[in-house]
Amino acid sequence: GAGVSQSPRYKVAKRGQDVALRCDPISGHVSLFWYQQALGQGPEFLTYFQNEAQLDKSGLPSDRFFAERPEGSVSTLKIQRTQQEDSAVYLCASSVSSGSSETQYFGPGTRLLVL
């Protein structure tokens, strides 16, 4: 079946621009996560949704970052007034809780470059 998809795959923004990154999770997955991965580092947690409810946004680095999942499926991560330090790969993951198995499946990521 189809995996997690993300768009765009690459985004170049000028400093100060707003960007929107989209994630389409695996159909039927109720949990959705956003992570940020800097070059040479492991992914770092940003925020978590269960269906349409944002249950944890403790990893969002500033109030310029905003995420939503209004219908419990597709999610959008928005970054306002982008800064150079926002340049990174943004990964989306989804999972469905099934007993003790809670594997998160990742999309290919969106590579953001802020100039």
Binding site: V4, G40, G42, P43, G59, A93, S100, T103, Q104, P108
Partner: protein, 114 residues
């Protein structure tokens, strides 16, 4: 503070030369330990989940083991196509039993030369 440390940062092997990657963790309560493989320009690909000390899982040339403080990813007779970055992540026990985020290490970059 919950922490995951992977070693070595990089590992170069000859084809057929077996070795192990280490993941040590310090967490308040472990719910699960995950291994992922990441190829350049791609998202992490799931390999294994381990839940309790003593557990082992195998897939082709890979075998993951877990103790109370660390996990090992053993690679037996590696091939060039095993070259990738291997990421270790932990999921901790949290409020109300609801699913928690993963805490990742920095990864081990494995290169296997023919």
């Amino acid at each position: 503070e919950d922490q995951v440390t992977q070693s070595p940062e990089a590992l170069r092997l000859q084809e057929g030369e077996s070795s192990s990657l280490n993941c040590s963790y310090t967490v308040s309560g472990l719910r699960g330990l995950f291994w992922y493989r990441q190829d350049p320009g791609k998202g992490p690909e799931f390999l294994f989940t381990l839940y309790s000390a003593g557990e082992e899982k195998e897939k082709e040339r890979l075998k993951a083991t877990l103790t109370k403080k660390e996990s090992f990813l053993h690679i037996t007779a590696p091939k060039p196509e095993d070259s990738a970055t291997y990421l270790c992540a932990v999921q901790i026990m949290n409020y109300g039993g609801s699913q928690g985020n993963l805490i990742f290490g920095k990864g081990t970059k494995l290169s296997v030369k023919p």
